[in-house]
Symmetry: C2
Amino acid sequence: MSNGVELVKNAAGRAVPTEVNGRKQVAFPGVGKHQVEGSKAAPPIRAARDYPANGDKRVADLETALRQCGLRDGMTISNHHHLRDGDAVALMALQTAARMGVRDLMWFPSASFPAQAAVIELMEAGVVHHIEGSMNGPLGDYCSQGKMRGLGVLRSHGGRWQAIQDGEVHIDIAVIAAPTADAFGNATGTQGKSACGSLGFALADSMYADHVIVVTDNLVPFPCVPWQIQGNNVDYVVQVPSIGDPAKIVSGTTQITRSPDRLKIAEYVARFIRDTGIMRDGFSFQAGAGGIALAFVDYLRRMMKDAEVKARFVRGGSTRYLVELLREGLTDYILDGQTFDLAGVESMARDPRHIATSPFTSYNYNGKGFFNQMVDAVVLGATEVDLNFNANVVTHSDGRLLHGIGGWQNCLFAGCTILAVPSFRDRIPVIVDAVTTLTGPGEMIDVVATERGIAINPRRQDLIDRVKGLPLPVRRIEEIQREVERICGGKPQRPRLRQNPVAVVKWVDGTVLDTVWQAVGGGI
Amino acid sequence: MSNGVELVKNAAGRAVPTEVNGRKQVAFPGVGKHQVEGSKAAPPIRAARDYPANGDKRVADLETALRQCGLRDGMTISNHHHLRDGDAVALMALQTAARMGVRDLMWFPSASFPAQAAVIELMEAGVVHHIEGSMNGPLGDYCSQGKMRGLGVLRSHGGRWQAIQDGEVHIDIAVIAAPTADAFGNATGTQGKSACGSLGFALADSMYADHVIVVTDNLVPFPCVPWQIQGNNVDYVVQVPSIGDPAKIVSGTTQITRSPDRLKIAEYVARFIRDTGIMRDGFSFQAGAGGIALAFVDYLRRMMKDAEVKARFVRGGSTRYLVELLREGLTDYILDGQTFDLAGVESMARDPRHIATSPFTSYNYNGKGFFNQMVDAVVLGATEVDLNFNANVVTHSDGRLLHGIGGWQNCLFAGCTILAVPSFRDRIPVIVDAVTTLTGPGEMIDVVATERGIAINPRRQDLIDRVKGLPLPVRRIEEIQREVERICGGKPQRPRLRQNPVAVVKWVDGTVLDTVWQAVGGGI
């Protein structure tokens, strides 16, 4: 027991709550050990007779739409985060609900950003009870301070689909920001002044929510093509002057790192993928939008050109670096979950080989397989990694919850998972004895690449065999750790945490992988 | 009671069974009167751990796949009909099941064709218990003779989606013929030697069936793009040398009628649409692939060019006549449910404005609206129409069930529904006192166009007002009927029917619209 919460030790040795926000939980039983049962969530059957005969579902404003959806206390409202820090719709929905006088809402965004920091006031005022979803920045810090009335629940993109699909989270009203839509509710992110690329993160919401509202600032005559969100799942359409700040939706500032150390990491990773033979005709990879990942893509692109190797597909989060690969004929397809810059948005809108995917296709573990199992290599970041290759992406070394999971956990199922991380940040070592928050079990992580060398997980004897004799700086992880500790003046301080759970981290199958504890201090 | 079947009179005055194949039925209560309740069907939750980690779901053959799906007596097996009379997969599935010794299967095709006449032997042998689905030709005749052990159930394309979605039909195993697929199960009809265009009729099957098998004769490396069928819904992939006869899949023989009378009907319809102002910038229409419909499209195309009018979209079944409209810039989009010829297949594969739709988007009444509500005019055929504009498309004048419903009922929700029919066929009048089988309630049908004039449903006073003073041969339907009866030597003979129900016709909402009775005679 901890602050009234009953805890149990899971298969990763982590103490996790047996119940979260009133719902019984299954403690993580090990990778691939959870036996699913039962049937998918079943949304209510609707009839066309209850919708406008001419297909025009527009209503005057968001308040009208929310009222007609039957908004009331305690409901769950969902939003997507494709507009990232430029989004205006999520806050619009919650603040409208506040004006309507409802309380105790559960907010269920696919991720939240600093732009939504005002949700803190709505939590203080009792309008929002708690948040389930990745919390980047201020909301994560608020949660870390133990101020949220419920527990935060962090899910990967695939895990969020799984939770909706399996009925673990029932969405009462989904409010979907749509850069372009028609009056029937078909919606796309590829066009419009607020274009963001894909709307895949809202797909599950549109399919499983009881009520669906599309909010757009660019209404086009039916049909809105492509219908990433199908109007057949939509109840109401609301036109607003602006759904967000285009400058922040696609920042256009995804930049390759200039740090020599980080460039070295990127080069090591590219060479590792080339020299171990993962880079071969028809291969595939995924890399994020961080500075190291982008630099890696740029290195690998040149290596692919030199070797005349073509990928079958690359997975996005897309940026102009992936788009270049496509344009230069170095890949047949980009399979893209979200677009990080304008080049990505434009490519998805115009190039039929740049394909929008959803968490269902790419990431959902509780299905008949998912695309990321077929990715040969994935390059990811981490805040911490331990000697057993367990990794953390959600909390900082001070224990504060400042990042979401994104597709990170789902990507671990690739053929070769590489964490590309600096060996220390702000003189704090990244390789630790034990991670603050377990986000990815070590058995899923194959390689840790730092500027001081590449460590291969001993479980991957096949990779260890393959690098023998290659000019790669392969070292044991303990060796890298010791070297860094010498430089940084010892092991990092353990974070000061209270025995009060503030959030849980779910594994891809819906089981509870770890607990996030209240941090001492905080405020960013 | 009729032959042990309890009957009730529905709102259309038709005697319909209260129970069909062991399932309680709702008698048609009038258009838009049925109150739906409950939740959609909920397929079982699966987990990726139970599928190959590398995403390769291929098994040796169809028998292996069916065995691993747990095929057993009494199950429901479904197929789609996009390969039309060229399909080899449905028969392959049922004959494999026969070899495996199972009995009493319910076969649930989206439609059946003469190519599948051998299913009669499987019914005689007890392998197949009965068929629910449109039956074109020999199977319909077999059903008409009262030889099927269960009742036939005829559903529109939208009604089939509705029945699956609402759990009225539970598919145990869907066997999906795929002109192109990858080993993960992603599948498309747009490419391959057996290309057929869209696979939309199989979409519900793939989403809701307990088990899904994809059968292909063109395996491509992952990803198969576009994934009209998502591999995430697929359990097994089977490679075979051939899924069908390409010559019959897209016959390439969709031809404009050469009959002067039928050309006249087509021209009347085109003029009606032009002169009543339905043909205007941004309008939309749908027409089938019959000779009159094609001629109509050709007339309208010329009128659109002359008037410099552009459609926003046209709905397919696509043929080269619709493709011409798209290529000539006379429509922004083709929204296509199935492709009838090679030009349609090629256009869908290459032109992003030629978009594959599904019965969910276009036709499903038990949803939040559907595309066909937004179509301005639809031109359809019929075997019979009565003085109240009630129409029949499934039975012939002799009472035999020889045709399916297709999307016909779903199309009736367009802004203006026009039946384009010859006033008689083989000296049998088409306008009758009462239709043999009610397939479409008269209140849904606005215009009956024959070579002897155009009759407008009195319920559409707005259309009657609009044609005043126009040079259109508008007449009362009774007048056309009398003229034809004079020519044909009187009213048509009533078909000789036994008081034994052999099939039912469902309305779009799942209620029972009419009964098909055993025909005396038969054999085609």
